[in-house]
Symmetry: C2
Subunit: 146 residues, 2 copies
Amino acid sequence: MTIQNQIEQKLKDHGYKLTLQRKTILEVLLKNKNHFLSAEEIYLQTKEKYAQTNFSTIYRNLEILENIEMIHKINIHGATSQYEFISHNSHHHHIICKGCGKTELIDFCPLEEILDKLNHPDFTFTDHKFELYGYCTSCKEKTCKK
Amino acid sequence: MTIQNQIEQKLKDHGYKLTLQRKTILEVLLKNKNHFLSAEEIYLQTKEKYAQTNFSTIYRNLEILENIEMIHKINIHGATSQYEFISHNSHHHHIICKGCGKTELIDFCPLEEILDKLNHPDFTFTDHKFELYGYCTSCKEKTCKK
DNA sequence: GTTAGTGCAAATGATTTGCACCGAA
DNA sequence: TTCGGTGCAAATCATTTGCACTAAC
């Protein structure tokens, strides 16, 4: 059973239909696993394979995929939202260059340690976000103003 | 020298003028130290003291304050931006309730440990974000749909 | 056949901008 | 006096929504 099949099954289990463009969007997200994409990038890549794709459909599908926790949506510094497929077998975080927006993976996750130290019984944790920002070599050289 | 004075000095040092409403916005941010505010909340609270305040002015000032690193701007789950004054003597992070949006402080910061483990010499780190999400007691009881 | 999904165009809502006037230095 | 700051109204831009039509099950 391929990953794509597993996801499609999960969609069915949640009562969603498997339309051609939904499958295409999934392909795009899978192809860019471990990589954030903007809605526009997803739109453009989907359009390549399925020409009549429409922006609303992209957004509606991204919302569904977020709800069933198959993708992560992040907002870097208030810029437009970025989406990433969740690989369940490799939880990770990101280093994000403020110059060019490129991201890199970090394998380490501080969550457990923090939950230990916190000891906060009256709160149910569901989710967390950890991101490092800075400038990559080439952006540093360009002496990014600011 | 009060905190407010220090900030005003910093603004001057950067070549910014000290207008009445800029001071008022600062007061509002200081009064809500350790607390995220939306642009609208800042607008409303500023308006209380300085009636003719305008939204564009709020945004323009928030942008300036962000640039000289006096406030943090965050986007929780793509909702409208939230701003918080940076207290330099108490770096912290937040627990955020997805039900009611209330935030709580965490004193612990995983940054140093991670930088140790990362060993990433070709990247200049400037900034980071760490946030825990979940549901607080009362939101849990309301069996928040999701 | 029923219900969810889609395309389109229009609406929304936060944030930004152009421009003429105002006020701090 | 000279810039930076402000108010206002209009613009922008990502995202959302209403509606009639279409396709998956």
